[in-house]
Structure formats: C-alpha cells, structure tokens
C-alpha cells in the first residue's frame, strides 16, 4: 500500500513537471524575428530622395503623428515615429568632407522594419514582435518599459513615454489608441490601415516621393524601382536587413 502510494506520487510529480516544462520547450524554438522568407508578402518602403522636399516631409510627419496620437514634447524626451533628419545623421558612414549642402539635406527617418530586428531579439516579453509580413509591431499592453529595445535599435527609431503622453495631446483621434506612460512606441508601417487595404498615411500624402509595396513580389512597383535605380539602406553592415530603401 505504502509503495503504491509512493509510486503514484512519483508519477503525479513527473506528470506535473512535464506539464510545467512542456511550454518551455516551445519557447526555445522561438527566435528573435528573422521572417525574411521569400514566400508571402513582405512589406517594404522606397523613399525617392529626389522627390522629397521639406514640405512633403513635414506633411508626412504631421499626418502620421496626428492619426496615431503621437504627442509633441519639447524636450529630449520627445516621441517620434517619423521625423526629419539630415543625410549625415541617417547615413553617417556615407557622409564625407566634399559633400557640401547635400550633407545637411533633410530626409525622412522612420523604423526600418528590419528583417533581422535587434529590438525583437532583445525584448524580454515579446512586447515587440515581427509579423509574417515583416512588420515589426508593438504590444503597448505588454511592454514593461525596460527600454532594452531602444539600446538595441541601431537607428534610433524608438521612443519611450517618459511622460504621460495624454498630457501633451491637444486633440486625440478615437481611431487609434493613446498610450500610457512607461511604454515604448514607434512606427508600425500603419498596420491598422494596411488591414483595411489602405496605404500607410505618410505614403498617401507624399506626392509620390514615398512608395510602399511587397518586396517579395517581383512585379510590384517597389521592386521595379529597386531594380532600376541605385538605392541605399541605413547601416547595412549590421546585418539587420532594413526594409526601407532610399533612392539616390
């Protein structure tokens, strides 16, 4: 009798252990992104720097920040999804001393939606993750605000809500959630608009300077342009494989 009870407890214990460990097995299979597969849609953006003007850049920033309830905070703790930045900031390794005004030529900066995103690799809660279509997204409700992703991003594309962002929003749109204090946020390639079959908002107002499409479709407009004109990506030497291309 005693023996059988002991045996039962052993089996029950092992079963409980197995039940507890099973999900952990799946976890080890999870990777830090890397959805660079050739099949399926992979969203990408092409920025034609020849067509980009200051006015267009400002329109892009304005529309993005207004439809996504992005506050403007006049300090170094500001939130930016897309923003104006000079060539030498975006492409520090391509800047040189003979480049006169072009070095300070303003262009557009946003999340690169990397194929191998370091931010996704380091996130301890999967609050930032990569979708099958390549978009790097944020779960604002899971983020613990550790800001490891900001240290990992080599493009400075992420912002942290040091403040309560709602204090800085004059008007909000109910179409998109406002964020709480203490979470990280960034451009999401307008995933909410793509779901409705619309283009990203910045692309829509860009007067043709920004193009958006499927990088895996060889007949898409973005692929045609990338095949015909020279383009550069930000710091390609890091192996992140950005999905945003700049035509030069």
């Amino acid at each position: 009798m005693k023996n059988s009870r002991r045996t039962f407890l052993k089996i029950a214990g092992l079963a409980a252990l197995g039940w507890g460990v099973r999900p952990a097995g799946n976890l080890f299979a999870s990777s830090g992104g890397g959805h660079g597969s050739a099949s399926g849609v992979h969203w990408g953006m092409v920025i034609d720097t020849h067509k980009l003007t200051d006015a267009i850049i400002e329109k892009c920033v304005e529309i993005c920040h207004s439809i996504h309830n992005v506050p403007t905070i006049d300090s170094k703790q500001d939130i930016k999804w897309v923003w104006k930045a000079p060539f030498h900031s975006l492409f520090p390794t391509q800047d040189h001393k003979f480049l006169k005004d072009l070095s300070h030529h303003e262009t557009l900066s946003l999340c690169n939606h990397c194929e191998n995103p370091p931010c996704v690799r380091v996130c301890p809660t999967k609050a930032t993750f990569q979708r099958e279509d390549g978009i790097v997204m944020m779960d604002f409700h899971r983020c613990i605000g550790c800001r490891y992703c900001m240290a990992a991003c080599p493009y400075g594309s992420r912002s942290f809500n040091y403040h309560d962002p709602r204090k800085f929003l004059k008007e909000t749109t109910p179409e998109f959630p406002t964020r709480a204090m203490g979470v990280v946020e960034k451009c999401e390639f307008c995933a909410e608009r793509l779901a409705e079959g619309k283009l990203p908002a910045c692309v829509e107002v860009s007067e043709g300077a920004l193009l958006f499409g499927d990088l895996n479709d060889s007949h898409s407009e973005v692929r045609k342009l990338l095949g015909e004109r020279y383009s550069i990506r930000r710091n390609p030497g890091l192996g992140t494989e950005p999905s945003v291309y700049y035509l030069i």
């Binding site: 370091p118 605000g145 990992a152 080599p154 204090m181």
Partner: protein, 386 residues
C-alpha cells in the same frame, strides 16, 4: 539566528535608523517617479538607460566577488578565508537585492514586471539575467545560512550544501557574464560591441568586490570587534591588485583595437569619455580620475609591505573601489549611448530625484547588509564564548 539582529548597541540602532530615514527619502522620490514617470530622470530618447542601470551593472560585479573567497577556501583549502567567507556570501545577497531593486526602479511599467515570467523569452539576454541573478541570490542565502547555522551548532555543515557551494563558483561568473552580454550583443553600440567586455566586467568586479569586502571587514572590526584573522585582508588585497591589473590590461587591449583600427563608430565613444566629442565631455574628468585612482591603487597594493599596513590597504581599496564605480557606474552606460547611432550628442546627467531614488535603494541594500553581518558576527561571537 534572526534574533541576533534584534540586539545591538546605540551605534547599531542609530545606523539602522539613519538608513531608514534615507529609505524614506528614496521612497518619497520613487513615489514622485511612479506618478510622473521616468520623465523625472535625466534620461532621454538618445540616452535611454542611465544611473539606475549603471548601478545595477556595477553591483552585479560586487555581488560576484564572493567567489574570490569561495575558490581559495573550497578549491585550494585556504582555511584562513573561512572566517570572512560568510561576509562575502551575505554581501552577495545584499548586492543582488540591490541589483534587482535598481532594475525595478528603471522599469517604465513596473506593475507589469511579471510579464518577464508570464511570457518568458529565451532569446532575450534580460530573461537570462533575471534567471541567473535570482539563482545567485538563492544560492548565497542558502549557503550562507546553512553554513552559519552549522557553525552555531558546532557541527560540520551537511554534505549536500557542498553541491551549492561548488555551484556558486560558475554561477558567480555567469551573473557578470550575462550582464555583460546585455550590452556586448547590440549591433549599433560600438563602445559595448566587444568580446572583451565580459572579461573586463569580471576583472573589474574581482577588484572592486574584494576591495569592498576589505572595507566592510574593517568597519566590522571597528564597530563589532570582528577579527578576520591575521594576514587575511592582506591576502585579499593581493586578489584586488591582480584583478585590477588584469582590468587595466583588458582596457588597454580595447584601446589598442579601437584606435589602431581607427573605426569611427568605436572610436567616438572612447573619445567622448576621455577627451570630449564635439565640445561635449561631461564625463572626461571622471574617467581620468577613475583611471588615476586605479593606477595609484595598483601602485600601492603591488608592494607586500603596503598590503600588510591597515591604512595603506584601506586607502588603496577605497581608490580602487571608487575608480571601478566611476568606470562602470558612470562611464560604461553613458559612454555607450553618446554619440547616438545618428551621431547626435545628447549628454546625460542624473537628476536629483533620480539620485534620491538611488540613495534610497542603496540604503535598503546597506540595511540588509548590516542586519546580515550583525547575525553572522553575533553567531561567531557566541561560538567563541561557549
């Protein structure tokens, strides 16, 4: 054994009261942070980690240093370390708790802390850091408590504890290695992107940690008549000088690679820290002080005669401890973020509230350390008398 912490003289209670006041101040500052968010800190979009994470990084090293007593005692049977071993283990307990508190203080949404466990993510180094830090805390608390209890009962410690004692050796190395890997695997941060980072972290930890233990033991000697045994601290001073020399050597290896290769993204950070970059250089005097303190510390401790002299040993330990603190607790994090990947310069200086929160956390750590040391020394005295 806890009752040992409840009896003490006026100095003991006064010190605890003082720490409690500091904890209150820190708690008040943290209350403001909970309401106003991390906006009360000097951190920014470009410098997204600051004083809190730097303290955590430095203290992981101080915690790991217990192994510098465990290895000689248990692998080389250097019995003289037997008496201060418990101080090393209890120090590790207090320091790991400090580390955990600093991490929580740094979180933007601490109420979601458990997400790290609810959604475990093995590809994140932070997940592993949580595992190794908590593991190290448990191991040291267990080993310290069980061996002290055995000492009190004047029996040999149970055999099974040996397993945890040996486990604590690689585990100590792991906590600082994993902490270095938090930084050393990030593609766009030239200052941290170096294979020598984990080794450097360990070397500076094995200098700063034992230096702190030397100082803590002197405090115990003055206030509690604790006798570490003849020559023990001088031997520990030898560990400090070896480790600090290795640390400086590894730093110079880094300097060579960075400057001889001439790669701008790696050079920019060392330039910023030691010479200033584009007219910005808030850390320059600090970094040179750190360097000079380390070298003077080595200069003193290299000579066996100095290691045997109390005042020399104390001065050198102080210099090395403070030097290592500046290097890791100020320069390591700030220097990694400036200049930013967009080559913009946003300098970071902690705010008063940030320092207030840190002060409260340090007070908490020292309170735990004091209570644990009180217990350990109380038990040892009881055994001596009987």
């Amino acid at each position: 054994m806890l009752e040992k912490a409840l009896e003490g003289n006026k100095v003991y209670w006064g010190w605890l009261g003082f720490l409690l006041v500091l904890m209150g101040v820190g708690g008040a500052c943290y209350w403001v942070q909970l309401h106003e968010g991390l906006s009360i800190t000097g951190m920014s979009r470009d410098v997204s980690w600051g004083f809190y994470i730097a303290q955590f990084t430095f203290l992981v090293g101080v915690a790991a240093s217990a192994v510098m007593l465990v290895i000689p005692k248990y692998l080389h049977h250097y019995e003289k370390f037997g008496k201060i071993l418990i101080l090393g283990e209890f120090n590790a307990v207090a320091m790991v708790i400090l580390c955990l508190l600093f991490i929580v203080a740094d979180l933007g949404s601490p109420q979601r802390l458990m997400n790290v466990i609810l959604h475990p993510t093995p590809n994140s180094v932070l997940f592993w850091d949580m595992v190794v830090l908590n593991g190290y805390l448990v191991i040291n608390l267990l080993v310290g408590w069980v061996t002290l209890q055995a000492e009190r009962n004047q029996i040999a410690p149970p055999n099974w504890i040996k397993f945890f004692i040996y486990l604590s050796i690689p585990w100590a190395v792991s906590i600082h290695t994993v902490t270095a890997f938090l930084y050393a695997g990030l593609p766009g941060r030239g200052y941290w992107l170096t294979a020598v980072l984990a080794a450097r972290f360990l070397a500076s930890a094995f200098a700063a940690g034992p230096a702190f233990l030397i100082l803590a033991t002197y405090v115990a000697k003055v206030f509690a008549n604790f006798d570490p045994g003849k020559g023990v601290l001088a031997t520990l001073g030898k560990t400090v000088v070896y480790a600090m020399s290795v640390n400086i050597f590894l730093f110079l290896c880094e300097v060579f690679t960075v400057y001889y290769s001439n790669i701008p993204s790696h050079k920019a950070h060392l330039d910023y820290l030691f010479f200033g970059y584009d007219g910005h250089g808030v850390l320059v005097p600090w970094m040179w002080s750190s360097m000079i303190m380390g070298l003077i510390g080595i200069g003193i401790l290299l000579f066996p005669k100095n290691r045997k002299r109390d005042n020399m040993l104390i001065i050198a330990s102080l210099l090395i401890f403070v030097g290592a603190w500046i290097d890791k607790g100020l320069g390591m994090i700030g220097g990694g973020f400036v200049p930013s990947p967009l080559h913009e310069i946003t300098e970071y200086v902690p705010t008063q509230l940030e320092l207030g929160v840190s002060l409260g956390i340090y007070a908490t750590g020292f309170l735990i350390l004091t209570v644990l040391y009180k217990i350990a020394i109380g038990v040892k005295r009881e055994v001596e008398i009987s």
